[in-house]
Symmetry: C2
Subunit: 221 residues, 2 copies
């Protein structure tokens, strides 16, 4: 049995469970976003920023994936949003079964939106379907403008990308327009937004609006 075959078998099993998850989310009218990005890209900070705005109109829950610690779930709970923490104990990505195992802890009937923050890793999570409706890649300007070109797979399968920490641009060599150009070259369909750490929120409100509309579109189908 080759390594390729083994991987294909694991992926096939995962995809089957992802289909079941997707059917379950559809049956309960829950829109699901799978967020991925490097460690420290700003995924949790971005959620802390947008969750208070999203939860004004939508009923939201978050699943946090990390190798270790409850840090991120605790941070999310401070925004008033329910958060479940998965610890992968070394695993480099979430898979559909891990998500399925969490669903009994959520009342899907009273949810509009489920956000899954994947393990911090710009490589592996992209290969594993969780049953989501939208894939979002979070990328910090501090990572450097060439990262989409060097890690293309996450962007190939993304629907949205959020470029974070743009208030660091004056202090580093990253050109955010070059970063956007690389993303567009890999996948011109990716909707790209920018946000900052402190000085202004840039397009965070546009992301909130984009997510709200996507949720409504699913619910009105």
């Amino acid at each position: 049995m080759t390594r390729l075959q083994i991987n294909q078998d694991l992926k096939a099993l995962n995809n089957q469970i992802a289909v079941e998850n997707r059917e379950k989310f559809a049956a309960h009218n829950v829109y699901v976003i799978n967020i991925m990005g490097s460690p420290g890209a700003g995924k949790t900070t971005f959620l802390e920023n947008i969750l208070p705005k999203l939860s004004l109109e939508l009923r939201v829950a978050v699943i946090e994936g990390d190798l270790a610690t409850q840090n991120d779930a605790l941070r999310i709970e401070k925004t008033g949003v329910q958060a479940l923490q998965i610890n992968t104990a070394g695993g480099c990505h979430l898979d559909a079964k891990m998500i399925k195992n969490q669903l009994s802890k959520l009342d899907l009937d009273v949810l509009d939106l489920l956000i899954i923050e994947n393990v911090g890793n710009l490589v592996c999570p992209a290969a594993w379907d969780l049953g989501e409706d939208q894939r979002m890649v979070i990328l910090s300007v501090a990572e450097g403008e060439d990262k989409p070109a060097k890690y293309p797979i996450a962007f190939l399968k993304a629907d949205t990308a959020v470029i974070t920490k743009t208030d660091l641009l004056p202090f580093i060599d990253t050109d955010v327009n070059v970063m956007k150009k690389y993303i567009a070259e890999i996948n011109p369909k990716v909707q790209v937004f920018t946000t900052a750490l402190k000085d202004g929120e840039y397009e965070a409100d546009q992301v909130v609006q984009y997510i709200r509309e996507a949720v409504r579109r699913k619910q009105c189908r």
Copy 2:
């Protein structure tokens, strides 16, 4: 066959090739460093900084691991150091066989130091022995102080850690002493250094000195 069993078999095969690599490096008196860290942690920039200093006294070559592009090998070659590029085509880490396959392209008899820059990923590379003498984790202050706690495996197996981009500290909430405390809690044996992007080189010279001494120790054994 369980997934765990499959992983154990792949690891066992990898470890066997890593042993062969290590024996080959020892026979040629070549010291090997395996550098790992997130995308954008500053691994290549750090190498661009230290290679001109290292190559004053040592004969150095670099193997670059990336999913895609020749970007990093081209950057390294500009420092005058020989660089080989491995593209993993989606693979999330280097393995011992990939390194073995590159060794025929290097004249080990005229090398003192081989530096391997792994795929940008704070999770997977830590699990794969390449035959190295030293493991170095590179971590940017922009990633946030809690990353060692959230991604402990890389630090558990590290010998050295280099905290980069410290000139961004005035603009972000990271406390570098807390970051160091987390590293020490996971593995008190890790030798920690700090460096900056532009404003001063902080402890880059100490890293160069540390590497030089490690190479000499191996060669005088």
